[in-house]
Amino acid sequence: MRLKRWLAGALTLGVASIVTPTIAEHTVKIGGQCDRTGPTRLIGVELCPGVSDYVRLVNKKGGVLGHKLEYTEVEHGYTVDRGVEAYERLKRDGVVAMLDYGTPIVYALTPRHMADKIPAITPGFGRADSIDGRVWPYVFPMAASYWSQAGAAMKYIKDKGGRKGTRIAYLYFDNPAGREGIPIVEAVAEKEGYQLRHFAVPSPGLEMSPQVIDITRRFKADWVVAHLFGRSPSVSIKELKKAGFPLDHVISFVWGSGEADAKAAGWGDAQGYLGLQFAAVGRNLPVIQEIIKMHQQEGKEAPEYVGGVYYNRGVLIAAILTEGVRLAIQNHGLPVTGEKVAKGYEAIRNFDLQGFLPPMTVRPDDHEGGGWVKIYQVKGTEFVPVSDWVRGYREEVMGLVDKANKKK
């Protein structure tokens, strides 16, 4: 009898000593999807390490307000059914905030995020009108939408001497995402009196000489605003270069402005090419330096892609996720839930991570955080900034957002 009681006491003690630390230290589960094998693998293999490295850095520095982050990545190869599975798996595991990867997957999962109240970060993937959080409370693009990108590109043209009669060619991939920029480009062209023409590139966009000949010979464009995906940006660089078009008058949206695009076209041929960026590029940034140092402390040299366009975009996503969780804990306490993180995101004010990000301010009616981008230019074998954080034609963009959401 006494032995039994003694055993029970010992067991209780033992169990208690195992359980107690986990109660004191609340881990926050976050999750994300990635494509490392599908059509966007070139982006995924650099972007996803950016996310996980930053989360590791946060944990190494003591976590978010003392709470560790547990990040789970699910690779789905850009397929919708596996994207749905990934979502359900992360939801089952109690994830409170997610990164959604891939346009068709974002579309498929949006109703689920709204029903389950788990906020999704969809940088550069979702639809432009989802930046209105009053209509889409659990969808957070958190980066300039295609409309904002179009606004910024048009402002750059204006700043560089665009005036009445300037000829602008909008060269776009013929899919919904590619067409998305059209209304803003059109609205601005009408306002400023530019001459505008659209040039569609059908999928997969590996053949562009007819469009380029049209742009350079017939239309005689002054500027090209390019919105292309996959391999096609590099094709556009090569073809425009071949036609003798000055590349410093070509502005690409965010998915055509990676090192991979310039490299595929040949760095030499890509000189002067302009690209929009969500996050600062390069290694000469405090956050990236910290990550490189972390790699060195672990006894490894940081991989070559650290500091690159897509890697830094991954860091941006993770930084915003972390900030949302931090504000959720700070303002609403534990335990962290999806709803609290969504409120946390909406409380982000002037978050810029020492110049790494634009001054992000997220509000319930603005889930893109202001719609800022930075314009970079190919010089040598890297992208160098040629502007500060910019945005343009904000009224036109927000007007369009309102109009699109009223229709529903």
Partner: protein, 355 residues
């Protein structure tokens, strides 16, 4: 050994033609339906999502098998016909308030009409040439939906539909969605089994085996080939419509050429000309990549690797294993998983007294 045929004497043609001639087979069919219906009691919502996805894929695969497996007409446009069903359902529900249980068959009807239209070239061309002609269907349908805003609902080519409800019963969880998909899947399955035994089904098989011989024997090739396209596309449309109500969204990027090829892979791996084989194939192609995630990443973790440091390697390793398993299953039994299942059944037929 349980399903003994001895002692079963058929005294009428109906008994001889029965779908399940053995009493035990009838019991097995009822039990398996009951088991399927009981899934929500034992599975969590994550597993239910998987089951739902497999059931959806099964419906589409059965449809394609009717065309490719039974009638012998290769099609690369299955995704396009699913797209038609998907958008039809979404438009009917969003603009005309049609309930989902009506939207599903109507999506099928629309897809059947489009499918029959794109089946016309099959009257003149066969085999690989037909595959390319149906490939054109894939691109044409995609282009039309993409460029006519009336269909696509705007520049984003996306139509959201509200949560489907069955007389006030909201279908808003994975568990409830199962009861939307399962009945359709069962009807689709039984209908396909029966179709193969009718005059129409036999005409399909006759065309597959030799179209000239079939024509000489009085099969109207024109009619039956188009009918095969229509029936197959009807299934595709139903699957597409269900997909819309399942995800609450219609988006053309969910039914690309890759989808069409995936469905072809399902029926080839599962077994051409077999309804159960289509289901096997759908399960194989849908489930295996996801199971591999758990197996490969689990074993890497057991071996002491941190996921982030080997993520790329694992992702590609999974792809290689998946490909190897496809080759392996086809090498073991070129006629598909259905045939493999047949071997297993035959082995146990006289077990333990096999000779």
């Amino acid at each position: 050994m349980i399903g003994r045929e001895s002692g079963v004497y058929k005294t009428s043609y109906e008994a001889d033609m029965a779908l399940y001639p053995l009493p035990v087979a009838k019991v097995a069919a009822i039990v398996s339906v009951a088991c399927l219906a009981a899934f929500p009691l034992v599975l969590d919502s994550h597993a239910m999502a998987l089951v739902n996805l497999m059931a959806l894929a099964s419906i589409g695969a059965i449809g394609l098998n009717i065309l490719v497996g039974y009638t012998g007409q290769v099609s690369l446009g299955h995704g396009a016909f699913m797209m038609v069903g998907s958008y039809t359902a979404a438009i009917l529900t969003m603009r005309y308030g049609v309930p989902f249980w009506l939207g599903i068959p109507l999506g099928g009807v629309m897809a059947a009409a489009v499918g029959a239209f794109f089946g016309i070239p099959s009257l003149r061309i066969k085999g690989l040439y037909l595959a390319i002609a149906t490939l054109a269907a894939q691109f044409i349908v995609e282009w039309i939906i993409n460029h006519s805003t009336w269909i696509s609902g705007g520049a984003q080519s996306t139509i959201y539909v509200p949560t489907p409800a069955f007389f006030g019963w909201e279908i808003d969880t994975e568990f409830r969605r199962w009861f939307m998909i399962l009945p359709v899947a069962i009807i689709a399955y039984v209908a396909a089994l029966n179709l193969a035994r009718t005059r129409i089904g036999r005409a399909f098989v006759a065309i597959r085996d030799r179209d000239i011989a079939a024509e000489i024997n009085g099969v109207n090739i024109f009619r039956y080939k188009l009918l095969a396209f229509a029936v197959s596309s009807f299934y595709a449309g139903v699957a597409g419509a269900l997909w819309t109500y399942y995800l609450k969204i219609a988006n053309y990027e969910h039914f690309t050429l890759v989808t069409s090829i995936q469905y072809l892979a399902m029926i080839i791996i599962g077994g051409l000309g077999s309804v159960l084989g289509s289901v096997f194939g759908a399960v194989f192609i849908t489930l295996l990549p996801i199971v591999l995630v758990y197996v490969v990443e689990g074993s890497a973790r057991l071996a002491g690797y941190e996921y982030a440091s080997v993520a790329d390697f694992l992702a590609n390793l999974r792809l290689i294993i998946f490909g190897a398993l496809i080759i392996l299953s086809l090498a073991i039994e070129p006629e598909g998983l259905y045939r493999l299942w047949g071997h297993v059944k035959r082995y146990f037929r006289l077990w333990p007294f096999s000779y």
